[in-house]
């Protein structure tokens, strides 16, 4: 059977020409579609704008957010991003200035003793609709926080105020809260128990004011959109395209408006991918972004202005102290303590600048009596000693009557850094102690569920401060604290925590914390890993950005654009 008559190669040529024609038509068709789409998009107006990182003429900057702020209702906010945005659009009784000192916000002056405080509000503090900020606004918002119907997760911070806890448990009406508006400009606060550091607590976002009549007329939608909020801070939200962008413009009713030197902060990109934000920065589209060890060399090569700061988080490995768990044995924990080398972890494994090798639960930036706590009471320095560690391990084995060590479980999350650490520690325990540690990788919610139910031997954990006092870390291992996932329980520790909670003498409190630090070390409650830090780059023309450990971070309310910088 011979093949067909048609010449094969001429067929191919003809077909090829046909294809070319189709390709050409396709491209033309595409261009047409693009044009139509463009017109449609302009009509819809959902343009995120192609603004540049810094615009000197209009005094505006463009930044990226890691995610859309989930909750701008200050009575229910729990996360950092919402807190950061709130720090720009709202102001509480007190605020942090550019140097980190606590100065007056809505409150012009105040008096405080161990039992309560009296705040005098300034006359020119007003809302973005022109009306003045009154003491009643604070009373309303604080009562809303402890109201059980609100179900605020941060209600516990209001427990410093008298009756806060009882109201939240439904035992008292909300009008019994220890806060009272003496008149329009005077606010009286009564504490639950003697307190010396209320100033540090009241700067927290949960204490922000909300005006009652506005809140009621939003019908449950307060904080959901730009026009469902009233602003009394340096900026207000003018446009909010969910998931895409957030635009803040200067608030002309703010009492310190003459000191605010930026006109617009435009959060033009919302993505959690660090590489993407680095690309935006490189392209000149955003004014600030973080750097990871991998992208560090890019920053150095580009001659960028790199900065570094401690963001306040303390990370550690927590042991499970529940009965029945091998890790309840002190000698086992001591063995692990003696092979823990945070210096190696920080310098060779995580390699992120700004990370300090961990040596204590209490971080370096918290104050003691006169100086930093860690200077007055240095953390015990543990020198890794493999021989001593093996000795403790052998003692533990005999105490537990084991022939062979079974595998231990290290619970880890889906965060890449904690995975890295977990793999490192797995090798360390195997190498130096001959222990078989299995890594239990869980996604966020499943990890939390396991931590709560105690299904782990070791877990990678961390803690960030709620307020600037040693107690926010100290009470973590009190036996009644639900965040004490390992269920460590010591009567001496509990007594120390109560002393720190109830005393007003800072010397007495610091002495209690010092003993707590010793106890944590002697009982090997945790294995300190590091104090978290971060490196970041800023546009050369953007100055005055404040980074904070506690409070809204980063803080652009004191920033300005310097056109002369090059």
């Amino acid at each position: 059977m011979t093949d067909v008559v048609v010449d094969e190669s001429s067929f191919v040529r003809a077909a090829g020409r046909q294809l070319l024609l189709y390709a050409f038509l396709t491209i033309v068709g595409f261009a047409l579609i693009m044009f139509l789409l463009d017109a449609a998009a302009r009509l819809a107006g959902s343009n995120t704008g192609s603004t540049n990182a810094v615009d000197v003429a209009t005094k505006s900057i463009t930044l990226a957010l890691a995610e859309e702020p989930p909750q701008l209702d200050s009575t229910r906010t729990t996360d950092q991003i919402s807190g950061m945005v709130l720090g720009h659009i709202m102001e509480g009784l007190l605020r942090d200035d550019a140097q980190g000192n606590i100065v007056g916000g809505v409150a012009e002056s105040w008096e405080m003793d161990g039992n309560g405080a009296l705040f005098h509000l300034r006359s020119d503090a007003s809302w973005s609709d022109g009306q003045p900020v009154t003491a009643q606004d604070f009373v309303f918002s604080w009562r809303t926080v402890v109201n059980p119907a609100t179900a605020s997760e941060y209600a516990f911070i209001m427990f410093f105020v008298k009756n806060g806890e009882a109201i939240n448990q439904g035992k008292l009406p909300i009008t019994d809260l220890g806060v009272e508006a003496i008149d329009e400009r005077t606010l009286k606060v009564t504490f639950e128990r003697p307190l010396t550091f209320f100033e540090k607590v009241v700067t927290f976002k949960t204490f922000l004011p909300i005006r009652e009549d506005f809140f009621q007329q939003t019908n449950g939608r307060y904080g959901a959109d730009a026009d469902e909020m009233l602003y009394n801070g340096p900026f207000r939200i003018t446009s909010w395209v969910h998931g895409a962008s957030l635009r803040l413009d200067k608030n002309e009713h703010y009492w310190r408006r003459n000191e605010v030197r930026l006109n617009t902060i435009h959060f033009g990109y919302i993505t959690s991918d660090a590489n993407a934000t680095l690309n935006f920065f490189k392209d000149g589209k955003i004014a600030q972004t973080g750097l990871s060890p991998e992208t560090l060399s890019v920053g150095l090569e580009q001659r960028w202005n790199i900065n570094q700061f401690q963001d306040g988080g303390v990370f550690f490995i927590e042991f499970n102290h529940r009965p029945g768990r091998l890790t309840q044995n002190l000698n086992l924990r001591k063995a692990m303590q003696l092979v823990n080398d945070p210096g190696e972890l920080v310098n060779k494994v995580t390699k992120i600048p700004g990370y300090l090798p961990g040596s204590s639960l209490f971080p370096t930036y918290l104050d003691g009596v006169k100086d930093k706590f860690r200077r007055e009471h240095p953390a015990p320095e543990i020198v890794p000693d493999v021989a001593a560690a093996r000795h403790h391990l052998e003692l533990a084995r005999q105490e537990l009557k084991l022939d062979k060590w079974p595998a231990l479980t290290l619970l880890s999350g889906d965060n890449p850094i904690s995975n890295l650490q977990a793999e490192y520690y797995q090798a360390v325990f195997k190498d130096k102690l001959g222990l078989d540690v299995k890594i239990d990788k869980q996604i966020f919610k499943q990890r939390l569920a396991k931590m709560t139910s105690g299904e782990f031997d070791l877990v990678m954990a961390g803690w960030g401060p709620d307020y600037e006092d040693l107690l926010t870390y100290g009470d973590l291992f009190a036996s009644w604290n639900l965040n004490n996932r390992g269920r460590y329980a010591s009567d001496e520790y509990d007594a120390l925590v109560r002393t720190a909670q109830n005393s007003t003498d800072q010397t007495v409190r610091v002495a209690a914390f010092a003993r707590m630090q010793e106890l944590l070390n002697e009982d090997v409650v945790i294995l300190p890993n590091y104090e978290k830090g971060a490196a970041y780059v800023t546009h050369k023309q953007l100055k005055g950005v404040v980074r904070r450990v506690i409070g809204s971070d980063p803080d652009y309310t004191y920033a300005w654009v310097d056109g002369a910088a090059e």
Partner: protein, 462 residues
């Protein structure tokens, strides 16, 4: 005169013996599959793919026997090393924390400008400088890997402000030159005065204990401090925790190839069976089966993976390869099923099917002998694409805790990790990605060859 015909006898009426000369065939009769096999063997593409597959299998099975490095051994002195790096290291004493004490070094003084104290090596760099009265806010130390130019790009701040006039740097020190800068700060944290810069080239070092543990020194030998040793060779470099890349690729091959070949094969098989039945039977049965396939596709993958993980009761840190295989199969077959069904619907109406049926062919025969071979093209393409997809799905599942547990490597998860350091140490991404590409190429060529061999229409051509 009339002739007398002889009378007819029985012999005359006996049937004539039939002589049949059978057609002599010029070549033996071949069945479809025999023909396909012959053509496959002759196909060049299939041969190449066969060699590649053999090479991969050797790499996976024989590799670990020849290259016996432990894939989970971490070498923190050789993090993320690209291949072909200088391997000499000097022996030193173990690290002792420095708190600014003066060491036994005549060059170390507290009044000199910025200088190095002791040796500057990959273990630690110790700096000391003279006290500056203007430094009310303390000192800030920077480190750069490029020279400080006129732009005064000091680089990375190692510490933002300290009161002491000494500093020890241990952060990610590599054996290369570094440029350190010290500036004085006023009370507002701004620079005051001139910056002091120093360049230092670091030497790679290793402690005697480490060297002994890794077998770099012969047992029993006691080399002196300062002798040079050669650190372990890593032909393909190391990963982010200093583990040998070649060993990890070999061990990872076992997981990746197993999942990457077996899973697609199984779920395509299931899809073909399901789609063929649905397409052939048609009508209500077809409708029901396809709706079920739609249902499976629409389920949220991640959620059900988590559920499977719990249902299969995979303990912490255990490698749940079999459950992962089952889960992947259960959730991936609908795509193939739909494709095959579409093809079958088309083929069912072809002329030769009707003819075959008239000739008395039964359903299984029709399906196996006529329909499925004609859908081969589409099936093979799907199979080829399923391979890399399965490898990356496995990587994703390992990431969420299902699948292989650390430190067991797999190519997909190595890619996941490698992409983070894509810009600085691309070799961590390139090598596993290359192996995945080679595997895909092999199956692509095999698919091509198979399709050429199995295509019924080409049967009489060659």
């Amino acid at each position: 005169m009339s002739q007398v015909l002889p009378p007819l006898s029985a012999a005359d009426l006996a049937p004539v013996a039939v002589e049949q000369v059978a057609e002599v065939l010029t070549r033996p009769s071949l069945s479809y599959w025999q023909d396909a096999w012959i053509r496959l063997k002759a196909n060049r593409r299939a041969l190449i793919s066969l060699w590649i597959v053999i090479a991969l299998l050797l790499f996976t099975l024989l590799g670990p026997l020849l290259w016996t490095v432990d894939p989970s051994l971490q070498d923190l002195d050789q993090l993320s090393q690209p291949p072909g790096v200088d391997r000499t290291a000097i022996l030193v004493l173990p690290y002792i924390p420095w708190h600014g004490e003066s060491l036994d070094d005549p060059k170390d003084s507290t009044t000199d400008r910025l200088h190095i104290v002791g040796a500057a090596d990959s273990q630690a760099v110790r700096l000391r400088w003279n006290h500056d009265l203007a430094a009310v806010g303390g000192y800030r130390i920077y480190r750069n890997i490029f020279p400080i130019g006129v732009e005064q790009a000091y680089g990375l701040p190692l510490v933002m402000s300290i009161r002491e006039t000494w500093f020890e740097d241990r952060l990610d020190l590599k054996p290369r030159p570094y440029f350190y800068t010290v500036i004085s700060l006023n009370e507002l944290g701004e620079q005051v005065g001139e910056a002091q810069t120093i360049e230092v080239s670091l030497q790679r070092v290793i402690t005697i204990e480490e060297a002994r543990k890794r077998g770099l020194i012969k047992a029993g030998a006691s080399p002196a401090i300062g002798t040079a040793v050669e650190i372990k060779l890593h032909p393909l470099g190391t990963d982010y925790l200093g583990r040998d890349l070649l060993a990890r690729l070999m061990h990872g091959a076992q997981v990746s190839l197993f999942i990457g070949i077996v899973a697609p094969f199984l779920y395509v098989l299931m899809g073909v069976a399901y789609g063929a039945v649905a397409g052939f039977l048609g009508g209500a049965v077809d409708g029901l089966m396809m709706r079920f396939a739609d249902f499976v596709v629409a389920l949220p993958f991640l959620l059900f993976m988590i559920l499977f993980k719990i249902m299969f009761g995979i303990g912490p840190g255990e490698s749940g390869i079999l459950p992962m295989l089952v889960a992947m199969i259960i959730l991936s077959w609908p795509g193939t099923a739909r494709l095959v069904r579409g093809q079958i619907l088309q083929i069912r109406e072809e002329g030769y099917i009707g003819a075959s049926r008239l000739l008395g062919a039964k359903t299984p025969y029709l399906v196996m002998r006529h329909m499925i071979p004609n859908t081969m093209g589409v099936i093979l393409v799907t199979l080829t694409f399923a391979v890399p997809s399965a490898i990356f799905t496995e990587a994703f599942l390992s990431f969420i805790g299902m699948g292989v547990a650390p430190p067991t490597p797999s190519w997909g998860s190595m890619c996941n990790e490698g992409i983070k350091t894509m810009l600085t140490t691309p070799h961590e991404l390139i090598f596993p990605a290359l192996l995945i590409s080679i595997t895909v190429l092999a199956f692509n060529l095999l698919g091509d060859g198979l399709r050429d061999a199995l295509d019924a229409r080409m049967r009489s051509r060659e």
